[in-house]
């Protein structure tokens, strides 16, 4: 195992444990990890954007490839920065006008077609189908279609505020609420699954790093963090608050 990898593993393990220490309470280890995370994220984003975009997509094609027309988008990009100079701030509107104009022109027709018209089409499927065997009055796909139609219509009614929700409208909106609750439940269930997956992924690596190959990084650093938290608790006076 190369020394760079072992150092990387120790840093990664230490920072993970620092972040998890927040589950005990807010503490200096967590704060250190939090600040390093913010700093490194911004730094990483800047460096990779500079190299992948400014160097690889702009400088090399322009200077080495002779694509001097790239000056135009570069100029438009630079105009956005004019916002930082109050006297020249109006120049940035040129770039924003270009971004909004082109962006809307590209997005509006495509989004309407893909995410509205095609979804409406998918909602309105036939309940009764005909085929070689004659008319089929009931299928589970038909039942699904019916459920989707009832769900869409009742939820739309729930968000229709131009009329008072009384009588039949009230009953339909109640059905809409049940559909919304089921949808929130499904979304929350998936969110729990996602968060647990992240925890599993991290634990999986922490277990791997607890092996002799990495000089027991997880175990050593876990003891260090726990000892540090004990010392920190002891050093605090009652007046310094509860964290």
């Amino acid at each position: 195992m190369s020394i760079e990898i072992v150092i990387g593993v120790w840093v990664a393990t230490g920072l993970s444990l620092f972040m998890y220490s927040f589950l005990y309470k807010d503490n200096p280890f967590f704060k250190l990890g939090e600040h390093i995370y913010v700093g490194v994220s911004v730094g990483y984003g800047l460096v990779i954007t500079y190299y992948e975009v400014m160097v690889k997509k702009l400088y090399i094609p322009m200077v080495q490839g002779g694509n001097w027309w790239l000056i135009l988008p570069t100029f438009l990009g630079l105009l956005v920065l004019a916002r930082f100079i109050p006297a020249l701030a109006w120049l940035s509107r040129l770039s924003f006008a270009f971004i909004v104009g082109v962006g809307s022109g590209i997005a509006i027709p495509r989004v309407i077609s893909s995410l509205i018209l095609q979804q409406v089409q998918g909602t309105l499927k036939p309940l009764v189908t005909t085929g070689d065997g004659g008319v089929v009055w009931f299928t589970f796909a038909g039942l699904n279609t019916l459920l989707i139609v009832v769900g869409v219509v009742s939820v739309l009614f729930y968000f229709f505020f131009s009329i008072e929700h009384t009588g039949v409208v009230h009953k339909v909106t109640r059905i809409g609420i049940y559909f919304l609750m089921v949808s929130f439940g499904a979304a929350f269930g998936y969110t729990v699954m996602a968060r647990m997956s992240l925890l599993i992924g991290r634990f999986d690596e922490l277990i791997e790093y607890a092996s002799p190959d990495y000089d027991y990084a997880t175990l050593v650093l876990l003891v260090v963090v726990i000892a540090g938290l004990v010392l920190w608790e002891r050093s605090r006076t009652p007046e310094s608050g509860n964290g």
Partner: protein, 278 residues
């Protein structure tokens, strides 16, 4: 009974954190291998790749960064293993700048493991800024959207891309996404206009929002979260990190369901006065 319920409800929440940690760790240390049932959405992606003739062009867009690695990295490994086993020509790329080097490492790693050659069996285009605009540009002229690949080789000179000039020359594309740009972007600006078949993989958080696209046939299949990755590993027959994590996933879900039920029961046992107090 009311007092007991109230005491239980005011227990230190750190006990729950500890329980979750223990229930996650134990199955990772001592797996009990619960069976993994493959969903129709994952099966469809597998079947479609199986149906592609050798030499077909398969585009894998790794639209995520390290923060979604536990869910989408195993998915990309399983998909790449399948594609290379089928001798498909793999075009890798990303629309997420912070995921570029990770995407390169997964493609190069699995290619090496499968004995595939860079430029001939697979290429990695890297990142291009613009999200949806990159897809539109690729649909018009792939060489213009990516004049060079990630390693600086001119795309027009790559043997693998000789017959691939636009997205219309791609037989199947999959976007593994942790948000936007991702699966939806690929459908809206890519598939609908340029006519290639599209599949998706996503984090569990985004899965409910993408299911309507399956029902309408806008995407032909979906791998959702760690479970989707584990399903695909099962289909490919090479268990990996996702399969190993599924026991822990199931165990934590059981615990959370149990805690929700117990807490609700205790909440109702506190009586009206306790509920009013909160």
């Amino acid at each position: 009974m009311n007092d007991f319920a109230r005491r239980m409800l005011s227990l230190d929440r750190r006990l729950i954190f500890l329980l979750i940690a223990v229930v996650t760790l134990l199955p990772l240390l001592y797996p009990f291998r619960l069976p993994i049932r493959v969903s129709p959405e994952a099966q469809k992606i597998y079947d479609y790749i199986e149906s592609l003739p050798e030499g077909s062009v398969f585009l894998l867009s790794l639209d995520f960064d390290p923060s979604s690695k536990p869910e989408l990295y195993p998915m990309s490994i399983a998909l790449l293993r399948h594609a290379f086993r089928k001798n498909l020509k793999v075009v890798g790329m990303t629309l997420w700048i912070t995921g570029t080097s990770m995407a390169e490492s997964v493609i190069a790693g699995v290619a090496q493991e499968s004995g595939k050659e860079k430029g001939k069996d697979y290429i990695f285009l890297g990142y291009a800024p613009g999200g949806a605009n990159v897809i539109i540009s690729m649909g018009q002229d792939l060489y213009a959207a990516f004049p060079t690949d990630y390693y600086g080789v001119k795309t027009a000179e790559l043997p693998m891309l000789k017959e691939v000039r636009t997205l219309r020359d791609i037989q199947y594309a999959i976007s593994l996404s942790a948000g936007s740009p991702g699966v939806e972007t690929w459908y809206v600006y890519g598939k609908e206009k340029y006519g290639f078949e599209l599949g998706g993989g996503c984090t569990a958080v985004s899965a409910p929002g993408l299911y309507p696209l399956i029902d309408t046939g806008q995407i032909n299949g979906l791998l959702g979260g760690l479970r989707g990755a584990a399903e695909y590993e099962t289909l490919v027959g090479v268990p990996g990190k996702a399969t190993a994590g599924m026991d822990a996933q199931s165990a934590t879900h059981f615990l959370i369901i149990f805690l929700i039920m117990v807490c609700n029961l205790l909440y109702f046992l506190t009586g009206q006065e306790g509920r009013r107090r909160g």
